[in-house]
Symmetry: C2
Subunit: 291 residues, 2 copies
Amino acid sequence: MAAQIIDGKAIAADVRKEVAADVKALQASHGLTPGLAVVLVGEDPASKVYVKNKAAQTVEVGMQSFEYKLPETTSEHEILTLVERLNASPEVHGILVQLPLPKHVNAEKVLNSIHPDKDVDGFHPTNVGRLWIGERALVPCTPTGSAILAKRAAPDLKGMNAVVIGRSNIVGKPMAALLLRESCTVTIAHSQTKDLPGVVREADLVIAAVGRPEMVKADWIKPGAIVIDVGINRVPSENGKTKLVGDVAYAECAEVAGAITPVPGGVGPMTIACLLQNTVVAAKIQKGIKD
Amino acid sequence: MAAQIIDGKAIAADVRKEVAADVKALQASHGLTPGLAVVLVGEDPASKVYVKNKAAQTVEVGMQSFEYKLPETTSEHEILTLVERLNASPEVHGILVQLPLPKHVNAEKVLNSIHPDKDVDGFHPTNVGRLWIGERALVPCTPTGSAILAKRAAPDLKGMNAVVIGRSNIVGKPMAALLLRESCTVTIAHSQTKDLPGVVREADLVIAAVGRPEMVKADWIKPGAIVIDVGINRVPSENGKTKLVGDVAYAECAEVAGAITPVPGGVGPMTIACLLQNTVVAAKIQKGIKD
């Protein structure tokens, strides 16, 4: 039996609709229009596309978009000064500094200089701590989107065995925190895990976030499991060009899984949608508005 | 075959010796004597004993001890003012506010008012975040002590299947972070876990931190596994009095495990030792001294 395909593109559109409704409601109730500032330093082509998409979608849901495109030669001090200004600006509720930053800039220092309540990437230690403690937090976008996709396949994740493959700060660890909050039994597996296929085979819910093309095979998957594929890997394709594949061998796993996300069109589109959602949450936190 | 008994009392004494040596070294190299301030509000008898022990052991390892015993009627504002003063004091490197606080005081607010670099309990969101991200952090004492005990039984935990039973902010979650740092495959189990015995049976390392007397039975334990028992439960004893037992059915599990901590005399004595260790780490962080 073929798995239900979890349509990230359609679900991301749903999330953006919800965000647009939230923005309208905030304007009506508090005269508040959330604003997102994106800082891009240098000329990385992928970053430029990504920033352009973010700005377009920000405007589309009715929020204010502020773009700061700085030359590659911008000093760390200048970037920190800009972040300080955005931290103080009442119109800006979310600040995103696009990575990678040029080599002469200390990225950790820049990211930690963003006020935690405006840190829509959710990377600041204060937000990481709040997430784990269970306080109101800004949570990284990719795991948030992944959790939304999993809950579309099974609205109640409580008691599920969830296996997160990968322990990055950006995906694996916050993913574990979110699934624990949903009362899954959570296992964090990684490169040092012994018998990874055996560990994954116990999972009702698999989140693959390792960056290894098609590593997860069909015989790792428990029949009926939900499979969320965070990986986006560019590999050579049959026609001599390249194509995108996930961390999961999609075609064969779709034969075994109960529900599965494709790549592209799964987790990918959710990330910007969750960034917009975070900007609304950030605006509410700053104005002391309850969820 | 009976398990190796992990002697928390002896290992805690070792840790205190190391701390005393660290203190001497800091005095010699930087003229710095770490200081720990403990704030006790009210007359809770268990808290009074605990605070007295902390102060005695602080002095014993050569550090400065500052005790603040305030009446039950002390206002939240007065406590916050004291914490503010301790935050600013150059002699105080660690601040511990003994819980529970009186009901008219917002404990979360008080704990979050402690400067993260002086937060030797490791409960502040900033420290929780730093721990998970992998930055230098002050880590809660009980999981730190538990990890030390586990490493006495097996110096290299890498690749072990570790199951943490319990997902509290004080033990379960930081325990998971520490074991992930040791490159264990980490599973966090809890009250919603299905087939908990089956999950625990896969573990090379079990950490029980649920507060349910002797819940973990011998047939849950993989032969040879390391069992760390964080529970301290007072139960009726045969002679009509009470006794302390852990979350693990010690006698029967000791027949199956490879190594096991007793209760009392296991994790318990480690907690204050790790608090003293944290005070040294806090002093180093504040003075910019590398580990």
